[in-house]
Symmetry: C2
Subunit: 296 residues, 2 copies
């Protein structure tokens, strides 16, 4: 059966369920065991956050969610590396790339500040903002997903297009268009300085994307801004990239060596030398952080 993304009619945010069986019967979360309901073809439509992974972090409106695999079911500790190509993990990447909403269900085993006292609670829709890997507390590679709550009460002028429409809210008609945010590109004064210096020429492919009146490029933070990466917004941490290479760089499809060779992570081959400018010194600490995030 095809997955259903978004809210499930009849089960509003806050609905409580004694066991996973009831979650499954409600259509909120299909798997009986796995925390992730997802696959690489369709994406992931729901996750259960119930304290199953020691590296999980729950901050209420956002969650650092550990992927699937490598865990000993008895001790709940990591005993092997996780793989991003694991079905559930790849499903969450698909949901990130497409901007698909993920139902989040919290269980009693999770962070006591945000979890129900017993059983499971449906806590609404989140989007997958980013993903990356690190060596977890048990010494094995884990993949983590930054899940950010979708604000469905957003009253900004563009609320009808930048937030997700419930597919069919219980007892009502949808008030928004079924459009979700797939990608948000941000600019900072520091990034703009770097882009102007490079005249909007991509430091990876050498193309400058020209439109009817001007040029377009994007500032890529090497060590990502925001949690959990907390990279700084400084010139040494920014690259001027075209949108295509920015998507690749931010999703681990390319990385840099310490001598600033560009490597295609999918086949390990050198794509070329990063284009540099004398006034733009790239700090290798950020380059190393980026490689570590992608397990290189």
């Amino acid at each position: 059966m095809a997955k259903t993304f978004g809210h499930i009619p009849g089960f509003p945010v806050g609905s409580l369920f004694p066991r996973r069986t009831e979650l499954r019967l409600a259509g909120l979360h299909a798997p009986n065991m796995h925390g992730i309901s997802g696959n690489p073809r369709e994406g992931a439509d729901s996750i259960v956050v119930s304290g199953g992974y020691v590296d999980d972090e729950d901050h209420g409106s956002w969650i650092l969610y550990t992927g699937h695999g490598g865990r000993d079911n008895d001790t709940k500790r990591q005993v092997a590396n996780q793989e991003i190509t694991d079905s559930g993990n790849a499903g969450l990447v698909k949901s990130q790339l497409e901007g698909l909403p993920v139902r989040v269900i919290r269980g009693a085993g999770g962070d006591p500040r945000y979890s129900p006292e017993s059983g499971f609670r449906y806590d609404g829709l989140f989007r997958v903002e980013s993903h990356g890997s690190k060596i977890g507390v048990d010494g094995f590679r884990i993949w983590q997903f930054r899940m950010v709550q979708i604000d469905e009460d957003d009253s900004s002028p563009d609320a009808d297009v930048v937030t997700l429409a419930p597919t069919a809210p219980a007892g009502g008609t949808p008030s928004r268009k079924p459009v979700q945010t797939q990608r948000i590109v941000r600019n900072t004064a520091v990034a703009q300085w770097v882009k102007e210096l490079h005249k909007h020429t991509c430091q990876v492919c050498g193309d400058a994307l020209e439109v009817d009146s001007g040029f377009y490029s994007e500032g890529a933070h090497i060590q990502a801004l925001g949690k959990p990466y907390n990279g700084p917004d400084v010139v040494g941490n920014v690259l001027c990239l075209c949108p295509n290479d920015h998507v690749r760089f931010d999703n681990g499809a390319l990385y840099l060596t310490d001598d600033l060779k560009v490597i295609n992570a999918l086949n390990g081959q050198v794509r070329g030398q990063l284009r540099v400018h004398a006034k733009h010194k790239i700090d290798l600490a950020y380059v190393q952080h980026h490689r570590a995030r992608w397990g290189q």
Copy 2:
């Protein structure tokens, strides 16, 4: 003097000014005559909306703003075509491409629903969401910019990164990071169907952008969604594009002929034939609408 983007300390939203001289002295809008304060190198930092162009539309939280040029100063009617390369118009394109905030000042001559009774009023920060051209009511080509009010009270989880920080609010310290939205990519179920059909292969360049676990592409609406274009979200109005060609297509740097040749609008040359799929019929009415928007 370099332009200042964002709020001007000491002049909060709602500030009133008797004449343009006082606007200029306050630093809100530098030019004495022009409606647009901007140039292609820095972008546009402010506009005055005061009913100077018959094709302007004011909807409160968004404005369809007519660019500069081609107007008879006595009759205020268009007597010639406008050019997107005109300094102020190109400045607004630059602000769109970089996500720079534009101060909007409304004058007494504008739409009576939203304009001050006399003089000028500072109405806060807007972003340039899109631009395009059409033949205006006077029979000449005009360029128009969709300006959307930035919601600075947005309380969504990502408010600190998706909305703009005031550079230095009067009487306080900035509470947000100085980061602005440069580009928002949206997905719909219809677009996703088209992308899956094409296996995320760009219909213009033939590349499929692969990341660590999956592929990324974007659904481009040929006749744009949303006002003022109002294109429908239907399969015949969607292309599967890579991000680079999507930016080009949405900003008039490429267009399609009725036999689906891809034309580079910057030099008029044929880039190739659009890649098509038997199950994906493109409706030429939308292709023609897109060409008209870009004056082709």
